[in-house]
Symmetry: C2
């Protein structure tokens, strides 16, 4: 067995080929990263998805797939879609607060103008 | 062939059993929903994920998995994680605007107070 097998080949108990599609993105030091992605997508699907991408996009694809897989393991019902809902709620709250604050500034400016008018009368 | 097979069994070219795990969530009227989820996760993984969930959570799990699969088909590099990044950027922008507006209100209130002080002098 090659001790330098990538985490994916080690997990799949296979020889790590020189042109292994997983090896650049799954170092042996982080076995959980592959275990998680394998549990959600399956090694075959991940390999297929990576093969369909240009080499320079694969690292980012692996990161986003790992993130989604981790979210799905932690929250099997909503996965990272639960995070999207939370962020959308947060945006709505912040926008409501912003609108309220902008209304307050309009009131404060109106009061200030009124005071100036009173000074001239 | 049973013409009432669910979209999953039709796609997988198999008989749709009475207790089909896919059937409640993949009506034959929406074949793309299963095709998309199958392309990203594979039927076996989806079936396994659903089996591990209580029946009352499965519909929502299918919706979130479908959403993620659709995002991944549309954006094979970032999937719905791209959406999370966009939403986080939007929150940061809104929060910056909110802080700016809150600073403006403080300035306007200070001006208003100063005008009132001047009136009494």
């Amino acid at each position: 067995m090659n001790p330098k097998r990538c985490a994916a080949c080690k997990y799949l108990r296979r020889r790590c080929p020189k042109d292994c599609i997983f090896s650049p993105y799954f170092p042996p030091s982080d076995p959980d990263k592959f275990a998680c992605i394998h549990r959600i997508y399956g090694a075959g699907n991940v390999s297929k998805m990576l093969q369909q991408l240009p080499v320079q996009s694969r690292a980012e694809a692996v990161e986003s797939l790992s993130f989604e897989a981790k979210c799905r393991v932690e929250d099997p019902v909503y996965g990272c879609v639960g995070m999207i809902s939370l962020l959308q709620t947060q945006i709505q709250k912040t926008q409501t607060l912003l609108a309220k604050t902008q209304a307050e500034i309009a009131v404060a400016q109106a009061k200030h103008s009124q005071t100036q008018v009173n000074e001239f009368m």
